[in-house]
Each structure stands twice: as C-alpha cells, then as structure tokens.
C-alpha cells in the first residue's frame, strides 16, 4: 500500500555547501515565523498565524505515520484531542491547586497525554500495516469519539470543557491574554517540534521507518522487527499530535468532542496529502494551504468544503506527490537551466485551465443556489458578476465553460507534457537527472 508515499525523499547529503544551504533554509523559516506577526499586525492575522502554527505541528506529526512509515491513519485526531483535553484538565488543576507551572509548559502535558495513549493503543494497531492498520485507526477513532459523548464528566459532553489560560502563573511577566503572546507561544513550540521531527527522520529509527515503509518484509532479514519500528513511530506521532492539541486548547481555551472526531482526522490527512507526504516540508505547505482555505473559502462560499473535496480528489488523481512534489519536480530542470523550456507551455495552459475552473465553479454555485433557492433571490455573485441561477443562459454558460474549457485545457496539458519531456531530456544530457 505504499506506492504513493515513497517517492525517494532526497537525503541530506552533507557537502559543506549543501549543509550551509540547509541551515540557511531553516534560519529563514524561523525568522519568518518570528517576523510575520510584526509585519501583519491585525488581530485577525495573528489568529490565523496561530491556527496555521498548530496545523503545521499536527500535519507534521501525521506525516511521521503516512510519509515516513507508510501508515495511513484515519484516526490521528484521537491523540490531538486527548492532548487537548488533558491540557485543559491540567490547566484547571494547575489553577485549582495553585501549582507553580506556567502556561508555556502546558503543551508538554498534551504531548505526554498523546504519547501515553499512543503507547497503549499503538501496540495492537501497529501489528499490521496497510489496510488493517487503516481500519483499526478508523475504529479506534470512532470508539474514542463516541466514548467522549458518554464519559461526560471528563469530556464535558457536547459543550466540552473550558479553561482560562490567563489564570496560570505568569512567566517573564507574560499573561498570555493577548493573541500575539499566544502566537509566540505556539511559534516557540512549532519551531521546537519541527526541529524535533526533522531530527527524528535523521536518526537510525527514522531511517528504518522509511525502510519499513518501502519493504517491511526485507526489514526483518536485516535484524529489525517492523512492528517495533511502526510502534515507535506511532508513539512519536502521538506525542507531537498531543502537543498540537494542547496548543489548540490553549488557543481556544476549550476542548470539545470535535477535537478528536473524524472530521479533524480527515482534515489532517487532507493537509498532509495535499502538501505532499514524500518531503518533510510537504505537510507544512499543506497545513498552510488547508488552514487558509478553511478560513478564506468559508467567507466566500457556503459550499467551501465541496471545493476542498474536489481539490483533494484532483491532487490524489493527478499529483499524488502533492504540492511539494510538484515543486521539487522542477529542481533538476532549474539546476540544468532547462526550466525556461517548460514555462511558456504553462502560460499557454493557464488561460483555458482557468476557464475550465470557472465553469466548474459557476456550475457548482448555480446548482447550489438553485436547489437551495430561497424565495427571495436566486441571484449569485461570482467574481462580482451577478448570475441568475434560474436562467437557462447561466446554466448554458457553465456547461460550455466546463466542457469547452476542459477539452481546450487538455490540449494545452499535452503541450506541457511534451515540453517537459524535452526539458527533462536536455537536463539528462547535462547530467542533472538520472
């Protein structure tokens, strides 16, 4: 079951120039994390950045399973959610018993909660990989999510349980009331977790995770128990998911059943996969894209989740390596200097592809407006242009754009493929592509 997840990630071969570049990338990213909220100073953007930070940790933790070890989980939110709940309980206990634990340490509570549950649940569920693992993760996910509604005293039923982060002992005079302070708390844990998870991929265990992903049978004949490798990976994934959950609990000052439900598990899968599981930075991109989509699309259209689903399906079918692979594909061309050979074909393709996309969007919006058609109005506005959903002309436009756009676009896509072949050939001749 691992074909998608295993397009050889390039190992960090440590030439001095490359390792310099490697540290430079990390430095730039960390600098970006620090500077962004100083550039975008509105409260709204601070909230957005906070959510993205949490989503990145969660998606990276998910990728320890899917991308690194080849384990497809449908229930990763269990560890995120339990991390969140235990963080809230922990914070309330800290306040109630006046313990000297300041807020920045609370994510550790979540992390250890995730770790403990992963230690317990993981031993059984990682016995097998593949479909059986996927099904167990789904079953455990449903089990925990349903139980959370029964065990009300711990999970607080539908409403969840709340806390107040400003009641905790302060540290360095920070109250963590303002969003910007919460952001930096999240950013701190983001940097720590990202470095930790990256370092994990460079350890003997991390390398063996890849080996188990590629060929669990062979691993047994070089001395390793694939079950143990999967189990350890699962525990790390649980730990970092718990940290993310705790940060979410700190951010929202609440933990509820939605934290550990199927939707949350699905979103993290979407994020990791859309970003690309075969590169370490893939899930980071995915988490950014998915969080932005969640926040932005929801404002524009009521059926934003449908677009979400369509984007996901498109990625699965046409670019199963995700955004990261699409980007990294161009690296050898860039190095060989043959990238300009493909760019014109992109420019040609962009127009019909956009028209096709517009047709699909128009079709969906019109269908939505028409079928939910409240009496007052079936007029929709798309790109500031009003459309009458009940008018046949609108329907016709949608159909023509979709079908016509598709066929023209398909021709231009073939053009891209041709240009690619030529560019790759040239790159190969220059020795940049094997």
């Amino acid at each position: 079951m691992t074909d998608v997840t295993s397009q050889a990630p390039s190992p960090a071969q440590s030439g001095p120039a490359q390792s310099l570049g490697f540290y430079a990338i990390w430095a730039v990213c960390i600098l970006g994390v620090i500077l962004l909220p100083l550039i975008f100073t509105s409260g709204g953007s601070h909230t957005t950045f906070s959510l993205i930070g949490i989503a990145i940790i969660f998606a990276l933790s998910y990728n320890i399973l899917l991308g690194q070890t080849g384990l497809l989980s449908f229930g990763h939110a269990v560890y995120y959610g339990l991390g969140g709940f235990l963080a809230v309980h922990g914070m309330n206990a800290i306040v109630a018993h006046e313990l000297p634990v300041p807020l920045p340490f609370v994510p550790l509570i979540g992390g250890f909660a995730g770790l403990v549950f992963a230690l317990v649940i993981g031993w059984v569920s990682t016995q097998r990989a593949g479909t059986v693992f996927a099904m167990i993760s789904l079953g455990v996910g449903e089990l925990v999510a349903s139980s959370s509604l029964i065990l009300r005293s711990f999970f607080g039923g539908e409403a969840g349980i709340t806390t107040n982060r400003t009641d905790l002992p302060t540290i360095f005079g920070l109250s963590f009331g303002p969003q910007i302070q919460v952001y930096y708390l999240i950013a701190f844990w983001l940097v720590i977790s990202a470095i930790g998870m990256y370092a994990l991929t460079r350890t003997p265990l991390g390398r063996m995770c890849n080996a188990v992903r590629d060929n669990p049978e062979r691993v047994q004949f070089i001395g390793y128990d694939p079950h143990v490798v999967r189990y350890l990976a699962f525990c790390f994934a649980g730990f970092f998911a718990g940290i993310a959950g705790a940060l979410a609990a700190i951010n929202f000052e609440i933990a509820n059943a939605a934290y550990l439900g199927a939707v949350q598990s699905g979103v993290v899968l979407f994020a990791a996969f859309i970003g690309g599981v075969s590169y370490f930075f893939g899930p980071i991109l995915g988490a950014i894209v998915v969080t932005m989509l969640q926040l932005e699309l929801a404002d524009i259209t009521s059926v934003w989740q449908l677009y979400f689903g369509i984007i996901f399906i498109g990625i699965v079918m046409f670019a199963p390596g995700g955004i990261a692979s699409l980007l990294m594909m161009h690296r050898p061309l860039l190095r060989a200097g043959t990238l300009p050979m493909v760019l014109p074909s992109y420019l040609i393709a962009i127009v019909p592809t956009l028209l096709f996309a517009c047709g699909v969007i128009l079709g969906i919006e019109v269908l939505g407006a028409y079928s939910q058609g409240s009496a007052d109005s079936t007029t929709i506005r798309l790109f500031r242009i009003p459309f009458e959903a009940a008018s046949p002309m609108t329907w016709l436009a949608a159909v023509v754009l979709t079908i016509g756009g598709f066929f023209v676009a398909r021709m231009t896509w073939r053009g891209i493929a041709g240009a690619w072949d030529r560019a790759a050939m040239a790159a190969r001749e220059r020795g940049y592509l094997s």
Partner: protein
Amino acid sequence: MTTAIEMRAVEKKFGNVRIIQDLNLTVGKGERHAIIGPNGAGKSTTFNLISGHITPTSGEINLNGDPIAGLRPFEINRRGLSRSFQVTNVFAKMTVWENIRCAVLWATGHRYAFWKNVDSLPEVRRRTAEILEDIHLTERRDVPAGLLTYAEQRELEIGITIAGGANVIMLDEPTAGMSNTETERAVALIRRLTEGRTLVIVEHDMSVVFGLADRISVLVYGNIIASGTPEEIRGNPKVKEAYLGEEEH
C-alpha cells in the same frame, strides 16, 4: 561445535501438499555449501524455513547448536544468519547508500536509536562505504535502488545480505539472469566476501556450483537425496538419475 546449520527431519506442508519431507541437512562451520535441485524442488522453501520466513510443520532446525525453528526472521538474523532472495528484494525507493546503511545499523548496535544522528556515526559510515566498494556500487550510491540495472540490483541484494556481518550467509540464486561476465564477477565477489564465513548457496549454474562449493546437497521433491563433496556428487548414480541426467548440464 562444528556445525553451523543443522536440519533434522524437517517437514513443511502448504495446506495438504507436503513440499518438504523428512529433510536432513548439515552445514559445517566455514563451509561453502551448495544446494542444487530441479525447479520447484523446495530449495527456496528450505531457505525460508531456515531464515524464519516460514515455520516448519515439524522437525528441528539448529543454528550453531541452538534451536531456531519458530523464531521470527529478525531474531534469527540477530543470531548471525543473513539471507538473500531469489527475487530481488531491496528498498526500491531508497538510494543504494541508504539500502546498505539500513543493513548495517542493527549489527553496529544502533538498533531503534532515536537520539543519534545517523549521518554522524563513523562506524556506520565506514562500513557502508566499505560494502559499497566491495559490491562495486560506490559510483551509484545516490541512485534509488529501483533504478539500478538488474545485475546491479543483484549485487545490491548480496551487499544487503552481507552488510550486517553475519557468520552464516545464505544466497538464493545470486547469479540468476546474469551474463557470463557478470556471473564471473559475482562469483569472485561472493568468494571474497564470504571468506571465513559459512556460505549456503542455491545455484542452477553447475560451473558456479562446482567451482565454489566445498560440499553439495541435492534436493529433489523436498528431500535431500545426496550430500557430499563435488566429486562424490558427480559420481553419485542417484543424482545422475534424478537430476543431472534429466537436465543438460
């Protein structure tokens, strides 16, 4: 103690079909032992039994005097037995370097370590480079294993098998499908790499078998019908009849 592998009255059934029956085999320490036999005789199945890939229905298997029947493959591997596969079985999406390095990790004692940087383990690095040099793949170290040529993949397969430094090496048709020059090179490689170790090899190419082996066992229908030095096997009438006679070697 002088035996490396000892199989006594081993039987293996798949469903109701008895593939291995009353199989007795002794491989001495430091010996180069070849197993020959017609297609479907059960040679690979014997390998699978010894290496723990499958468990025998009944019978005893000992490695260096200790019973190993029923142990998992990695437990047997940790006791110093390593095998290759007839059908190339490498980590196709990982580079040649990573393939070998993974095979070195357990033996160098790093196990499941998640607190060490794998790139800065000098012992691992040195041994990986050494093995790559041995199997002539240093040039190709950064190529994903799946993109190697067939002969290169077979050499990588051997490399992974010996990388852990096991005392008992089992190779299942290492030269199958190779050209003559490639075979010669592979045989020289095997001879050099298994110096001072025990080798069990399955091979169809009789020139390889008779050139390499100290002892030969002939497996027909899941049963060893003869076992001895190359001369003894050459002269054995049962072998001639059952095996050498019917094939054009």
